[in-house]
């Protein structure tokens, strides 16, 4: 662990959305999408982020690439808070942090050919100014992601979902980024194609020494690709540790319940299914206590009033639960 360099230092990242009042005179309500998220992202690793829908995974990703403006907290890159960067620095930052979007059907401009789409980042950042050189480089990138010369002049609607996601990846790679935020890049794809695209991600990581923040709701996808996994629940990271140990030794009650939902591989294997009763509490309005308090089988008095912080319990295994407070 110690030899790894921290590339992105996320501290107390909080994002709140104001919900406009439905009725006249009503106070606008606040949706807490992200609360106090702190995590270090190491160079060259894949940080998997997993959680159920509405837990703030995508919001986290979008805050990192500044599609959402964070309400509070900081994200440090190269020793500087990215939310405080101005014009030129901000543009340079965008070269280093790129994103692959969830929906391959809507994230490509339908009026641009694959070649043009990949060239665009180079035009915007004036990386390659020569036209012929640029289209050659675009072709090269398309070839790296497994497309070829016959695809250059095609429009997005002429591609399949997997191919479009490849174009997305090629576009993200065009600027030689250090970090790519992948917002559920395979959830819109067929299972067989998911595997291809995931392998592509793995291969590119080795080739370009990329760091991924990989957001997904699919446990098996996350297991396949991640070095470390962060489990999110209702806008907080509840557990963060190495990919392997989280499957072997989940600590947080929510993680235990989540992992027990994976169907056993053998029909003879007995596995106890932990079922959390009740619904996810609403993220709208004031948040008090541990978000899991009402559903947690091991809930204590304290959980109802205080929110636990993410704490290291050894071996880089972080967990946010009072059960492990004394350790």
């Amino acid at each position: 662990m110690s030899d790894k360099k921290v590339i992105l230092k996320v501290r107390n990242l909080t994002k709140e959305f104001k919900i406009r009042a439905q009725k006249f005179g009503e106070q606008p309500q606040i949706l807490h999408a992200l609360t106090d998220v702190s995590v270090d992202i190491y160079e060259g690793e894949t940080l998997g982020i997993i959680g159920e829908s509405g837990c703030g995974k995508s919001t986290f990703g979008k805050c990192l690439v500044q599609l959402h403006k964070a309400t509070a907290g900081s994200v440090e890159y190269d020793g500087r808070n990215i939310f405080e960067l101005k014009k030129e620095d901000l543009k340079n930052l965008k070269r280093d942090i790129q994103m692959v979007f969830q929906d391959p059907f809507s994230s490509l401009d339908p009026r641009m050919t694959a070649g043009k789409l990949v060239e665009e980042p180079m035009i915007v950042h004036k990386v390659v100014t020569d036209k012929a050189e640029r289209s050659r480089k675009a072709l090269e990138l398309l070839q790296t992601v497994g497309l070829d010369v016959q695809h250059v002049h095609r429009y997005p609607h002429e591609f399949s979902g997997g191919q479009r996601q490849r174009i997305n990846v090629a576009r993200a790679l065009a600027l030689n980024p250090k970090l790519i935020v992948c917002d559920e890049p395979v959830s819109a794809l067929d299972v067989s194609i998911q595997a291809q695209v995931l392998n592509l991600f793995n291969q590119l990581q080795k080739e370009y020494n990329l760091t991924y923040v990989f957001i997904s709701h699919d446990l098996s996808v996350i297991k396949h690709i991640s070095d470390r996994i962060a489990i999110m629940y209702l806008g907080r990271i509840v557990e963060l540790c190495d990919a392997n140990s989280i499957y072997e030794n989940p600590l947080h009650p929510y993680t235990q319940a989540l992992l027990s939902a994976i169907p056993p591989e053998s029909p003879f294997e007995k596995r106890e299914r932990i079922v959390l009763s009740g619904e996810i509490p609403s993220p709208i309005g004031e948040q008090k206590g541990c978000p899991l308090a009402k559903r947690c089988p091991k809930c204590m008095e304290r959980c109802k009033t205080d929110a636990p912080q993410l704490k290291d319990v050894g071996d880089g295994h972080h967990v946010a639960c009072f059960l492990f407070d004394d350790k």
Partner: protein, 304 residues
């Protein structure tokens, strides 16, 4: 199936040739070829092209000088003394006047639409993209203009500007700005929240580039459709203005002021008003048919 076939041809021809093949295939399936298969659109196009040719080639087609007055030969009927459509109250050859009038009417209509489209598109883009206070101010202004009936608005403008072709173009253009701005703004609202615009923001695309490279191209088809259909309305607008005596003034011929002249002698020489009216009707019909066809091709979702 199709994909298999594609890869098969790619193997036979090689990737480069295959890429050329796809290029050619796309050309065969482009807007023009789709339009060509649409019969009503082609009828419309033929009418439009016919009228435009007539306007362009006016000096070659016209049999007489359109402004030459001949007091001895007033109110002649069809075909009399070599005047195909007869003559008007000053003895001017009506056929030549209609042919030259096509110039003025079409220039006024198309020019007006273009002026309206350019201003309207810019306002719509700004308003839709920036939102907030800018949006509110621009759109309320447009609402205010829409609240005036077009003719009233045009009368006000023409009184301020004075008559003449450039002013007619300007008046029709300004009258068309609000509806263009609305069409564009609505589209921009849809497009700017698309994921590919977010993707552009992540890449660090500037606002100007975003507007003109991503948002405008994706809003252009409804704009083209609206503009084509709008030309038909603009022809009527020009005719209305000239009919009211505010547009093109005599002796310059335009279909509107021929109609106006014909109004005074409907009992004695009905052919003057009829002929100019028919030309307005046919041209408007042509632009409408063509516009409908363009809409079917560019914007199939708009079809009811």
């Amino acid at each position: 199936m199709a994909k298999q076939k594609n890869t098969a041809t790619a193997e036979v021809l090689g990737a480069e040739a295959h890429s050329q093949l796809i290029k050619r295939e796309r050309r065969a399936n482009n807007v023009w070829n789709k339009l060509r298969r649409n019969k009503t659109a082609m009828i419309g196009l033929v009418i439009v092209v016919f009228m435009m040719l007539m306007a362009i080639l006016a000096p070659l087609i016209a049999t007489h000088d359109p402004n030459a007055i001949k007091p001895s030969e007033t109110y002649l009927s069809f075909g009399e003394k070599g005047h195909i459509f007869g003559t008007d109250e000053f003895g001017r050859d009506l056929f030549s006047r209609i042919v030259y009038g096509a110039r003025v009417s079409l220039i006024a209509a198309i020019g007006g639409t273009v002026v309206g489209a350019i201003i309207g598109i810019l306002l719509g883009l700004l308003s839709g993209y920036l939102g907030g206070a800018v949006d509110a101010v621009i759109m309320r202004l447009m609402d205010g203009m829409l609240a005036f009936p077009f003719v009233l608005l045009a009368i006000i403008l023409m009184t301020i500007l004075g008559s003449g072709l450039p002013n007619v173009i300007l008046a029709i253009g300004i009258g068309n700005v609000p509806s263009f701005a609305r069409v564009v703004r609505g589209q921009v609202h849809i497009v700017k929240n698309e994921e590919y615009c977010n993707a552009g923001r992540v890449l660090g695309v500037s606002n100007i580039r975003m507007l003109f490279r991503h948002i405008l191209p994706n809003t252009i088809s409804p704009i083209i459709v609206y503009a084509t259909l709008n030309v038909a309305g603009a022809i009527i607008s020009e005719a209305t203005l000239s009919f009211l005596g505010l547009g093109i003034s005599q002796p310059t011929a335009s279909w509107g002021n021929i109609l106006r002249a014909g109004k005074d002698c409907l009992n004695t020489a009905p052919h003057i008003a009829t002929i100019s009216g028919i030309f307005i009707l046919i041209t408007v019909l042509g632009f409408n048919l063509f516009g409908d066809g363009v809409r079917d091709v560019l914007d199939p979702k708009m079809k009811k």
